[in-house]
């Protein structure tokens, strides 16, 4: 089209071939770091805690990054950001699975019986487990083939589950830190999540208003078409 020369440098960068492999490697860094620390016997006095905390924290961070893609795209107009969302989302699942496996294996010795008792008794564990379960259909339907099979609209509806995942995951983190009466960092994560979800509500509300105005025959708001998509 010849328009790419007119694009700003971040957009040109985002369109580049190197972006995806680069982001992939960046997302892998926390895991590589953990593996290296294990390999060199450097996981600290309590290696179990190091692994569980690190994987959990990165699952949550990447979840917020995933949820930030769409708002960032809308605010900057960089449509190319959308290309990265699936990869971020799948890395959330990757770290969440590692977090879960570490808990199941290291804390409960892979005893399903003990794990089930743990989940039933402790809301904190139940929340983490729910987040993982809610994420599973999203990970399974992340392929292009599944988007086609489900139809874009139904796929999008299904993937709004990610908002629920965000709320439950932050609750899991917050409730865990409450045990040490130290909820400062979960509060920060909760605020970021509130902003990311709040923006979507705000856009949804504006879109609804614009539609009403349009039906009444008034001049449509200029962002009407764009804001229908919430995801």
């Amino acid at each position: 089209m010849g328009t790419s020369t007119a694009l700003s440098w971040p957009r040109r960068l985002l369109r580049g071939r190197a972006v995806k492999p680069l982001i992939f490697l960046l997302c892998l860094l926390p895991f590589a770091g953990l593996f290296w620390r294990g390999w060199s016997n450097n996981l600290g006095p309590n290696p179990e805690q190091t692994v569980i905390w690190t994987t959990g924290l990165w699952a949550l961070r990447l979840l917020l990054i995933t949820l930030a893609v769409t708002p960032l795209r809308k605010l900057t107009g960089w449509a190319e950001l959308a290309r990265l969302r699936r990869m971020f989302g799948l890395f959330v699942y990757f770290y969440a699975l590692l977090h879960f496996t570490a808990w199941l294996g290291l804390v409960n010795g892979f005893s399903v019986d003990m794990a089930v008792r743990d989940i039933a008794k402790h809301p904190f564990v139940l929340a983490g487990m729910s987040a993982l379960l809610l994420m599973t259909p999203l990970a399974l339907t992340s392929t292009n083939g599944m988007i086609k099979r489900l139809g874009a609209r139904r796929w999008q509806t299904l993937h709004r589950l990610v908002y629920g995942v965000g709320v439950v995951a932050v609750f899991h983190f917050w409730w865990g830190k409450l045990a040490k009466n130290n909820t400062a960092s979960p509060t920060v994560y909760a605020l970021i999540l509130a902003v990311l979800l709040g923006l979507r509500l705000w856009w949804a509300w504006r879109a609804a208003q614009a539609r009403r105005a349009h039906l009444k025959g008034e001049r449509p708001a200029d962002d009407q078409g764009k804001s229908r998509s919430l995801a």
């Binding site: 620390r37 294990g38 390999w39 016997n41 450097n42 996981l43 600290g44 006095p45 309590n46 290696p47 179990e48 805690q49 190091t50 692994v51 290291l106 804390v107 010795g109 003990m114 008792r117 743990d118 008794k121 402790h122 904190f124 564990v125 409730w175 865990g176 409450l178 045990a179 040490k180 009466n181 130290n182």
Partner: protein, 336 residues
């Protein structure tokens, strides 16, 4: 395996104990062999292989002032002590930060001399003790205790101290003394973590009078043959081995004998989870996680010890034979 049991303690076969001289000697040996790091490491490894009982990390004390003591084997576990490095770098001491590594990093600002401890309340002879008086009050003993944190990890620590009962008898409790509360130093300049309102400072913990008078309750001044490092509660802390670690108040400046059950710092902060007794109990976990098993710190093994399995937690942390009678007739689920 001819271990014998009495008073609830497992006693070792003689081959399982590392004599103090050997772990002491190692340092001198290393220093003498200091021709080069490689030589030192080789020597250490060779010596380590000889002296260490199977599966144990070899302790290596730091460079603090030595504290003379005699071993109290009757009140000691025979488990291999957790390496000195882990005991002194993996700490919960919120007065110096909330990360496990914070206390070792930040506790240098604490001045432990001069140091006084006020003992007051329901006593006939209230008194302010200087730290040197306290060090001399009773013969210093080394006792190797199991240490269980409410977070689900455990250590084995060779503490130095004497039974708290010696101090309490010295001030002659009145008939009204039903509980003992002990209070950590309040000084945000020396304890920067106290600038964060995570808990209500100063840190306060307490015991029932009979718990406080129990011989196992240790007024503690050192570990591994040396005075306590600041991050472990210098210059004086409490150690109650059948309770979760947080009952052991650190850097104590005041001990009060009182009539009413104290509201401890953790009971005030998160009352649904932290009870007054806080006895180690694998069947009761008001916490977020099960207390049925624990990770023993410093076991070694591949991947930093990641795959060394957890071990079952014992009622009263294995001190049931000595302390269960204190709680006869009490519902330990209700009085957790």
């Amino acid at each position: 395996m001819s271990k014998r049991q009495d008073q609830g303690f497992e006693h070792p076969t003689s081959s399982e104990i590392t004599p103090r001289e050997i772990y002491r000697d190692r340092r001198h040996f290393l220093a003498a062999a200091g021709v080069g790091a490689a030589a030192g490491v080789a020597a250490l490894t060779a010596h380590h292989a000889q002296a260490t009982p199977a599966g144990g990390g070899q302790p290596a004390p730091g460079k603090l002032a030595a504290l003379a003591s005699h071993k109290n084997t009757a009140l000691s576990t025979t488990q291999t002590p957790t390496p000195y490095k882990d005991v002194t770098t993996y700490n919960n001491f919120y007065e110096f930060g909330t990360s496990k590594s914070d206390p070792a990093k930040n506790a240098g600002s604490l001045k432990t001399r001069p140091w006084t401890v006020v003992v007051e309340g329901e006593v006939h002879k209230p008194r302010t003790f200087g730290i040197d008086d306290l060090l001399k009050l009773a013969p210093m003993e080394e006792r190797v205790y199991r240490h269980r944190c409410v977070e689900g990890w455990a250590m084995v620590v060779p503490w130095l101290g004497y039974s708290l009962s010696h101090l309490l008898k010295a001030v002659e409790p009145t008939g009204n003394a039903k509980y003992v509360e002990y209070i950590t130093l309040l000084d945000p300049a020396e304890m920067p973590g106290q600038n964060d309102p995570i808990l209500q400072w100063p840190y306060l913990e307490g015991l029932r009078m009979d718990e406080a008078m129990h011989p196992l309750t240790l007024l503690t001044f050192g570990l591994y043959g040396e005075v306590l490092p600041n991050q472990d509660g210098a210059p004086m802390r409490m150690v109650i081995p059948w309770k979760y670690g947080f009952k052991g108040g650190k850097s104590i400046v005041k001990i009060r004998l009182v009539e009413k059950q104290p509201v401890t710092s953790w009971m005030r902060a998160v009352p649904q989870w932290y009870g007054f007794y806080s006895n180690v109990n694998p069947d009761v976990s008001p916490q977020n996680w099960s207390q049925s098993n624990e990770r023993l710190i410093g076991q070694g093994g591949g991947f930093g010890g990641l795959f060394s399995p957890r071990v079952p937690t014992q009622l009263f942390n294995g001190y049931g034979a000595q302390v269960a009678s204190l709680y006869q007739g009490m519902n330990l689920t209700k009085f957790f």
